[in-house]
Subunit: 325 residues, 2 copies
DNA sequence: CTGAAAGCGCTTACAG
DNA sequence: CTGAAAGCGCTTACAG
């Protein structure tokens, strides 16, 4: 039985309301050049007939759409899931309909998804690009569609982007750690596009205090188990390490598991929400996903209206200091 | 510049390929009644012109669509995020395009989302219904559209549903706990639609061993902090409690925080993926989200093809025993 | 403020 | 196997 309902069209509505199709259309598009009486009749007819607006037809005719595709790199990253939720909310408040998809950190899937979605009329793409995204590809896409890069900046791409101030995040977190005057400090990063920014904030904080850090380590997988193994090995060769700045709390948990004695000297740059956490376990920088979502929509709207947008929007982060237990 | 590209249509493709519009259309819809030579010419023309198929137009004309809306109740629940990812994958393999949206556990939002999305041509709705979903509403929706209820069953609704075997999950987990011969056993549930099934599996396991459990407790919020507080209070009135079956590991973490001495006597029915976890911290039942996704798509396809579908599909769960540390 | 008409890009019988 | 024609449900000038 589903989808069989011989569809009610604006023609039927017009007929019932005793007006013309055009008038119904004007009501539907919230035009103000419609007599109030007509409008009421139309609204009533819509209600009585159970009419539902066909946006595909409208989009086809008008060339416009309120659909915004949000390509998340990894929905199973709780921070990204939260961001997706906030973006959806913000888009909804701005009268857009969000379409969320996940590229699962695969460039191929990212490309495929966007190619597929190009076949529908969409107003814009908000993309959290995966690490190996090609700048040329993104620029080509941005030449034909409205595109915003979110959370990650694709190096050398000129597509507008909105992201947290990664450099500041690692900087403040590192400064906080340096308060405890550690001797040998290490940075443990990951392979994400944000790693570069984090590292540079870390380095600048070290430099400020004339500290020469140990060579940074990169975790190839984002699991605490992997971080634990990597750090265990590192510690074997550098037993003097007494403080660690981690890219995020996933890595921090792994480092902690490998070296419980360092507990108060482990900090995390980015906080990823952790469903089992009662109190913050590491000093970290908090990312305001709501603010990121809001900024993205603002940039999007500006782009839709004026065809120009700020190239880069940095959203502030806030230091959150772990309470001593 | 975006979206300005004066669109290339099948007419242009037909012209360039030296065939008619119909032929191009047949190629696009993968019809087999097209000469191989024509097909090649068409494909080449598509490539040369950078033609992109307009699915809105196609859907409008044909009355069909490959869009499937997936309404997740809470994207920030890692289990649901994982499920969303798996559903998207499975849909993609079946040549559907998934549209993921999140109702944020709000009935109003759930209703609004679906009403909004009805305005686009969609093939089906896969819904993880929020707790207070009305059966009548769901049945009405299912009368007009293809609908599948996922993860949660709306009581007294006749919409087909696919869900984990909650009753078995709590049953096996409780049996495992009873091995340690606890004296006073308690069930800590939540307010989700699955709570009823969990409780009944718990009760049947108790009954099997002639155990009379303490009256079950319900957590109104799904945070470890709240569970901790609730359990602390419970413990004040019932200090003899020596074993707890929790609806999930979020609650289990709260209970553990309130009563660390019970550690080996706390089990969790449903395991929600936890990004900071190195080893499973509680004995629990594992939910196979991939299997759930696969089953959903199978039910969906059956429904699309034959307009009938099994009313209820239970997906098996697997006991995972915590390693003693 | 309203009506008649054209057209968005496609699919689908229907003749050839 | 291919071409000409109608039509999916809307929007948009354009006259009235």
């Amino acid at each position: 039985m589903p989808n069989k309902a011989k569809s009610v069209t604006i023609f039927d509505v017009a007929h019932r309301a005793g007006v013309s199709k055009s008038t119904v259309s004007l009501v539907l598009t919230h035009s103000n050049k419609v007599a109030d009486k007509s409008k009421q009749k139309v609204l009533q007819a819509i209600d009585e007939l159970g009419y539902v607006y066909n946006r595909d037809a409208a989009a086809m005719r008008s060339g416009r759409s309120n659909l915004v595709v949000v390509v998340i790199d990894d929905l199973t990253n709780p921070l990204m899931a939260l961001l997706a939720k906030n973006i959806e909310q913000a888009l909804s408040e701005a009268f857009f309909q969000a379409i969320i998809v996940s590229s699962n950190n695969s460039v191929e899937r990212q490309t495929q998804l966007i190619n597929n979605l190009k076949e529908y009329k969409v107003a814009a793409f908000i993309i959290c690009p995966v690490a190996s995204t090609c700048a040329q590809w993104l620029d080509n896409l941005a030449a034909a569609y409205h595109v915003i890069s979110l959370m990650h900046e694709v190096p050398y791409s000129s597509a507008p982007c909105v992201l947290p101030d990664y450099t500041k995040a690692s900087h403040v977190v590192t400064l906080q750690l340096i308060n405890d005057s550690p001797k040998n400090i290490l940075f443990m990063g990951d392979e994400s596009l944000s790693a570069q920014g984090l590292l540079s904030g870390f380095n600048s904080a070290c430099k400020k205090h004339n500290i020469t850090p140990k060579p940074a380590i990169t975790c190839t997988k984002s699991t605490p188990l992997h971080a634990k193994q990597v750090f265990s090995n590192t510690l074997l060769n550098n037993p003097s390490i007494d403080a660690v700045v981690c890219a995020n709390n996933i890595i921090a948990h792994g480092v902690l598991a490998a070296a419980p004695h360092l507990k108060s000297n482990i900090v995390s740059c980015l906080h990823i929400p952790d469903i089992t956490e009662i109190q913050p376990r590491f000093t970290c920088a908090n990312i305001n996903t709501q603010e990121l979502a809001k900024r993205s929509i603002l940039v999007l709207q500006e782009q839709l209206q004026t065809n120009t947008a700020p190239v880069k929007t940095l959203v502030n982060v806030n230091l959150q200091i772990r309470e001593t237990p």
